[in-house]
Symmetry: C2
Subunit: 165 residues, 2 copies
DNA sequence: CCTGAATTGTTAGTACGACTAACGTTGGCT
DNA sequence: AGCCAACGTTAGTCGTACTAACAATTCAGG
């Protein structure tokens, strides 16, 4: 057996329509199509980030820091929508890479002030480029107009569902 | 505090664009938009199924049985793309509801033959209706033409990504 | 200024889905 | 006969979303 040189798992299990092998009823389920396609996309993004030693939250946290400036961990958790408990590990990893600095806040000894380093800014740019590549790869079969359309349709659905209650 | 009468968690954490609160870089990531929207959709589907005491695999397995006829557990696992290890629990639940029968195969004592009961057919129709309602709810803001388009775009992306290697 | 309540970072743990490994039983093959 | 493959089942890993509890610190009110 020599079957896993680069795909982690099946990769065909995420195919929505396998012709006669796929029950017709499943082919009508948008939730399934969206779920599978999102899983493919996230796997692609996850793999690409893993290849450079990062993962999703690294990008999210660096982006939040870059755009909103230094923050305490709980402010950061709120902004990046990462649980403060999970943030601890993310910050440890980012600090190990030298991409952020975690310093005690002199004005409030409960707080840490998180700051992006110069290397952190470069790292963010790197991860941004990686993800741009993934997005492009995912949307390869679509024309520019179709890409815009897809983005718009998903955005409307997302806003609609988020507005519920 | 009295804030969780029916939403299991945040529900706002799945919003893609929170205006000024959302870092601009995140607003360019299709993988994020797709992931969040798929999560919303799957949460809606999961909640709706849970409300009638079912979950995703119940539907998938019943659909496969209904369209391909009685099968052994491993055949079913292959067709429904459910791991045979997980299928055990699903079949236990379906059997408890009286929706399937699990009988030993007389011609091969290793096998169980799984059959849908009449109640199982009705159950499938019920779950199908529940999911149709969810799909409709999710796509509320879209016109019929847009719904078709979204389906088509996602289908192309899914096929493209599944064809990789 | 003192005491109780709230906040901060952290550790630990739950819930759940996707996925793998191993095992006893049975069957087909030669 | 003997060996390997397939069957159903149990158990366990891994990753991610999410909650609970806790010590340290700060803050507000009497």
């Amino acid at each position: 057996m020599q079957a896993d040189h680069e795909a982690r798992t099946d990769s065909a299990a995420l195919r929505f329509d396998r012709g006669a092998e796929t029950p017709e009823r499943l082919k009508a389920q948008l939730s399934r199509l969206m779920g599978l396609t999102a899983a493919q996309t996230q796997r692609a993004a996850g793999d690409a980030l893993r290849a450079v030693g990062a993962h999703k939250d690294h990008f999210v946290v660096l982006a939040a820091l870059a755009e909103f400036g230094p923050a305490s961990q709980s402010a950061l958790a709120a902004r990046a929508h990462v649980y403060k408990s999970d943030l601890v590990a993310v910050l440890n990893e980012l600090a190990d890479g030298g991409w952020i600095r975690r310093a005690p806040d002199p004005s409030d000894k409960r707080r840490n002030v998180i700051t992006v380093t110069a290397a952190g800014s470069r790292r963010l740019a790197e991860l941004d480029a990686v993800l741009a590549g993934v997005n492009d790869h995912v949307m390869t079969p679509l024309t520019p107009g179709e890409r815009t359309q897809l983005f718009a349709l998903l955005t409307r659905i997302n806003a609609h569902l988020a507005d519920q209650r």
